[in-house]
């Protein structure tokens, strides 16, 4: 019985089916808001679904320079990781199912979609894809440092607990350090999503989508689906860790949707109002601007702990 339950959770709700549907809807929100910012009308609600289905029906091209099997398998790795993350996050939020250290598992698994993009790009044997992959890796190095420091702040605020349920019970955002850390993590999420100003790895106008340049048909579809799922999963991660989690009971439903839409729109607005930075600018931004801020938040949290001031 337990097996069936786990499989249901993974495949249907809150795993694959649920995450991909909400993810594709979120990507519609992204496209619609972007269109409105640019004074366009924007696509209909189901456009992301049409796009995905259409990609399934397209021909798959495989570059002669690449490693065929790895090239085709790479999109699936990222897809599996994001499904697993989403399942873990939602089970922690809804069913209070948690295990010690699931925060660390989630942090590690969240790197895997980027890893899949890099491996796929490198396996294509295309030099532009290689450049994109190397930028993606440098971007990971850049944002991972402030990201981890902010998580340390969160863990400190939650009495050294590394389980998502315990962290979600703590409203980390109700303190100065929590707000600062949350804002820093929002930038990291922007980079994790590969959204402007941190879309250096894809850089359509410069290296023609970088790692995705050789992808077509189903494999590109799986990548696009993974990105849509990330667009849903990462804000949920933010809500769980900083904003007290999700409670789908009574007013909690409205509250959860409000939190999610607020974060989503914030990310989209940042995306649409900024130019793309160079990779060295991105690394400098994360290491020399955001990291000190993250450290400051951590120090505030430590001071708050020492002098027993909960709002610090």
């Amino acid at each position: 019985m337990e097996i069936a339950w786990y499989i249901f959770a993974f495949i249907v709700f809150p795993g694959f089916v649920f995450t991909s549907i909400v993810g594709l809807l979120s990507s519609w929100v992204d496209r619609k808001v972007t269109a409105r910012v640019q004074w366009r009308v924007g696509p209909p609600l189901l456009q992301p679904f049409y796009d995905f289905v259409k990609l399934l029906g397209k021909e798959t091209l495989i570059p002669s320079s690449g490693a065929r099997l790895l090239f085709l398998a790479a999109p699936i790795f990222g897809f599996v990781a994001v499904t697993l993350v989403s399942t873990i996050l939602w089970l922690a939020n809804l069913a209070q199912v948690s295990f010690v250290g699931d925060l660390i598992v989630v942090v590690y698994l969240l790197v895997v979609p980027s890893l899949a993009i890099m491996i796929g790009g490198m396996a294509s044997g295309n030099p532009l894809a290689s450049i994109g992959a190397s930028r993606e890796m440098k971007l990971i190095l850049a944002y991972e440092l402030p990201f981890l420091i902010c998580l340390a702040t969160v863990i400190l605020k939650s009495n050294s607990s590394i389980s998502l349920v315990a962290i979600a019970e703590n409203h980390v955002f109700n303190s100065v350090s929590g707000v600062v850390a949350g804002v820093v993590v929002l930038f990291c999420v922007q980079a994790k999503l590969g959204f402007t100003p941190f879309d250096v790895a894809e850089a359509e106008t410069e290296i023609m989508s970088g790692p995705f340049i050789e992808y077509s048909g189903v494999s590109l579809g799986v990548f696009k689906l993974t990105q849509a799922m990330m667009l849903f999963t990462l804000p949920v991660f933010l809500i769980t860790v900083f904003l007290g989690g999700i409670h789908l009971v009574g007013w909690g439903i409205l509250w959860a949707i409000l939190k999610y839409v607020a974060i989503l729109v914030l990310i989209i607005v940042i995306k649409n109002t900024n130019p793309r930075v160079r990779i060295d600018q991105a690394v400098k931004f994360f290491w020399f601007y955001l990291t000190p801020i993250a450290v400051a938040a951590f120090v505030l949290a430590v001071l708050g702990r020492i002098f027993a001031v909960p709002w610090l």
């Binding site: 495989i62 599996v80 190095l141 023609m208």
Partner: protein, 610 residues
């Protein structure tokens, strides 16, 4: 039984090693097979020792008052499980050597010292007398020196550096043992239990710790590993710095922290600081290397940091994590060096900028390398993730505010490790073929492939079924009960991952992939891809990072050797010898006046002391 079981893994390799050393040069297969058979016997006896548990061999050789020398062998749960892995790695590498080392120069020395190193390691692990321990410890050091020199003329500098640094560490260990004997009056390891009171135990601990971490290759005494890697055969790097030296160094360290001394938290913190610095600094160095074995050797340094971090926490979870990480690290690092050896054997080069595109012709090596690379980067569900995760929990368990700094350092170290291995995977196996790699037609033979496959499978298996190594080896070895609360359900997660892969596969089937997958030329804006000029060289991946402020200066200083204690102590030694050289000017009157001065000082000292 006519021979004590404990003697087999120790004396058999030493005896056979001596035998192969005096064997005529021509007989090359016999030598290799003999080594393989010896390793098999040693491995089998190690398993037997583990099963038998309470074995002991005490054979007194000499006793002068308090000073005793006796050939005592007594396995503990810790040493008998490490022995299984030490001899197991010996077995795999002797199999690998069949294909790798054959046809090289100095095969005679290679096999002889290979066996000496194996026997010496078994001796270290089983010894219950500190002097016997030290003798076998030295056997391993000396064997490593000779094994590195098998690499040919270029390996001389690296071998000397290795020997000098390890010798220095061993000297510290000897001093520490002396102090312990002075304090406790006994050399028997199982009898020792020294509480910290006064200065001497602290000095003894620090001296012996230096010996242990030099062997394991932690900062600041790490620089022998990269130096040795420059020209040593890959199988030697895989056997000693990647596996046996780690096992022995960490074995000694765990004995020091858990059994011989009663540690104070200050010294634990010192270990944790060394560990965190080692993780970050070594992996930053690894990222910018161009030479594959050298890059791997910096990772061999960096991974020690996690073990020190775990052991330094001094709580059961942390120590178990450190010990498990030692085991995991020797598995995947061994595999990575073997992969590097396979690539070098096939292409004749170690330079990352000359490699590329090997995935099509060397698929087995590629998969083994990819699995190990993911394992060392701590990607779930491989073994590196589980042990790192135990270490993180141990770090948080200490409850110190500083523990968060260690946590961030360790986790960021993982990201840097991943970055470094992305570069390796790309430069060696992906990307486009180069002149050197274009001539490779097929993967390495069975003898070289099998050890890599076994090690890669172990990495995966220990990641999924981590309960098995933890319950059978790590918990009894660390002397802790199964205290780890709510560990992640790796079997379930793996099941779900496989399920997810199946879903992905179904999506592919839903799509048009089956009917039409067309192979086309890569698209680079309409240009034609030239093999040599159109290549993105992986060694340039992290030039952006190298150019960052602060880091740039550090890299330059490191490149000049300013941050290496070997250079400092070497400079000091040169200064002293330079001074002595100047004194030796050949004038008799000078020598006479020096002697007179010496006699005067002696007389003054004697009168004062009387």
């Amino acid at each position: 039984m006519f021979v004590n079981l404990l003697l087999i893994p120790v004396l058999l390799p030493l005896a056979v090693g001596l035998f192969t050393f005096i064997l005529p040069k021509k007989d090359r297969w016999f030598r290799a097979i003999l080594t393989l058979v010896t390793s098999i016997v040693a491995f089998a006896s190690a398993i037997w020792i583990y099963i038998e548990k309470s074995l002991e061999l005490r054979f007194s050789l000499l006793a002068i008052g308090n000073f005793t020398l006796s050939f005592d062998l007594a396995p503990t749960p810790l040493s008998s499980f490490i022995l299984i892995f030490a001899t197991g790695f010996g077995l795999l590498i002797s199999l690998y050597s069949l294909g790798y080392i054959t046809g090289r120069n100095r095969v005679r020395e290679y096999y002889a010292f290979f066996l000496f190193a194996l026997g010496g390691s078994s001796g270290v692990l089983l010894a219950d007398h500190f002097l016997v321990f030290l003798i076998f410890w030295e056997v391993v050091t000396v064997s490593l020196y000779f094994l590195v020199t098998v690499g040919g003329a270029e390996s001389k500098a690296g071998a000397s550096k290795t020997f000098a640094m390890l010798g220095g560490g061993d000297g510290c260990l000897l001093l520490g043992i002396g102090i312990v004997w002075f304090l406790n009056g006994s050399f028997t390891i199982s009898n020792l239990n020294i509480p910290f009171g006064g200065v001497l135990p602290v000095i003894a601990f620090i001296l012996m710790m230096i010996g242990a971490i030099t062997k394991a290759g932690s900062m600041p005494f790490h620089s022998w590993i990269p130096a040795a890697s420059e020209a040593a055969p890959a199988s030697v790097m895989a056997l000693l710095p990647a596996s046996l030296d780690k096992l022995l160094g960490i074995y000694l360290l765990i004995m020091l922290t858990t059994r011989i001394f009663v540690l104070t938290s200050g010294l634990g913190l010192l270990l944790m600081i060394i560990g965190a610095v080692t993780i970050l600094a070594a992996v930053m160095m690894a990222m910018v290397q161009h030479d594959l074995p050298k890059l791997l050797s910096y990772h061999a340094v960096s991974q020690v940091g996690y073990m020190l971090l775990g052991i330094g926490t001094m709580n059961p979870i942390g120590i178990a994590g450190g010990l498990f990480h030692m085991l995991n690290n020797s598995i995947y690092k061994n595999c990575l060096f073997l992969c590097a050896g396979a690539v070098e054997r096939k292409t004749g080069t170690n330079d990352l900028s000359e490699l590329g595109g090997l995935v099509k012709v060397m698929p087995i090596t590629f998969i083994a390398c990819l699995v190990s690379a993911l394992a060392i980067s701590g990607v779930p569900p491989f073994n590196g993730f589980v042990s790192k995760w135990l270490v993180y929990q141990g770090v948080l368990e200490t409850g110190m505010k500083a523990s968060f700094i260690f946590l961030v350092a360790a986790m960021f170290g993982s990201a840097l490790t991943l970055a470094s291995f992305i570069k390796v995977i790309y430069s060696v196996f992906l990307g486009t073929r180069t002149q050197k790699t274009a001539k490779v037609k097929k993967d390495v033979g069975f003898g070289m492939a099998l050890p890599m496959i076994v090690l890669a499978l172990l990495s995966l298996g220990f990641g999924i079924y981590y309960r098995f190594p933890l319950n059978f080896f790590v918990y009894p070895g660390a002397g802790v009960q199964a205290v780890i609360p709510g560990i992640w359900n790796s079997t379930w997660a793996t099941g779900l991952i496989i399920l997810g892969l199946a879903v992905g596969f179904i999506i592919y089937l839903l799509g048009k992939y089956r009917k039409s997958a067309r192979v086309v030329d890569p698209f680079i804006g309409g240009e034609k891809l030239e093999q040599e000029t159109g290549r993105v060289i992986g060694t340039h991946f992290y030039d952006t990072i190298k150019e960052m402020p602060v880091l740039k200066g550090t890299y330059t200083a490191q490149g000049k050797g300013h941050l290496d204690p070997y250079t400092w102590i070497g400079g000091l030694g040169l200064g002293i010898t330079g001074f002595l050289k100047r004194i030796h000017n050949g004038l008799l009157s000078w020598y006479l006046s020096w002697s007179l001065l010496g006699i005067l000082i002696l007389i003054v000292l004697f009168t004062l002391l009387k």
